[in-house]
Amino acid sequence: MIDTLGLIFIIIGLVFDVFGCLGLVRLPDVYNRLQAATKCVTMGTCSILFGTFLIVGFTAAGMKALLCIVFLVLTTPVAAHAIARGAHRSGVKLWSGSVVDQYGEDREGEM
């Protein structure tokens, strides 16, 4: 029973991974690709690790999987925010259909 629950978690994670990478290929802009791929793939990989913990149980590998979930949730948004800030400061243009750019307005106010 608990093995079946773990396999269901792994299947959900695989679906999120594949559709996140599909968004990485198909979306038009750096920022769209960043928000699609980072959120989807983080959720998918955390789901795969939780399914691994459910299948393996309270062993060394299971506890390492839980530790890896905590580490991944803490570090991935920081990395994504740093990439977006660096891309905006290095002058990557937004997509032509974008509606609002509040960070650009703030930087114009600074200068």
Partner: protein, 122 residues
């Protein structure tokens, strides 16, 4: 031409959903089947996602696209290590996963700071 592209894309999406969700379902409800074959199939699905990331690394118009794709590739490899843990029963694959997460985070931060300062022309 545009309608042809839509039809081909929807066929590919339906094929992906069928291959990922529908096809492994018998392995969940008949536990006498070994689920190691399901784990082997999961590795192929992760390799498909990694090939999509490699396409973006090859074609990316700017340097920021390539950095995003490398970051995503590093996160995918952690999931690969978890599935290898189930498949082989060795616990040191998760050590590789934790170390890879740390190195990927530091490398991405360094590349982002370099991009912010320099501009990284193509």
């Amino acid at each position: 031409m545009k309608r042809t592209r839509w039809v081909i894309g929807s066929i590919v999406l339906v094929g992906l959903v069928t291959g990922i969700i529908i096809y492994p379902l018998p392995f969940l409800f008949f536990q006498d089947l070994p689920y190691l074959s399901f784990v082997g199939r999961a590795i192929f699905i992760l390799l498909l996602a990694a090939v999509l990331c490699l396409y973006r690394i090859n074609r990316g118009p700017t340097a920021a696209d390539r950095i995003v794709a490398v970051d995503i590739l590093g996160i995918l490899i952690i999931g690969f290590c978890a599935i290898m843990t189930i498949s082989t029963g060795r616990s040191w694959y998760m050590d590789i996963g934790i170390a890879w997460a740390l190195q990927s985070f530091i490398g991405t931060l360094a590349l982002a700071k370099y991009l912010e300062r320099k501009g990284l022309e193509e």
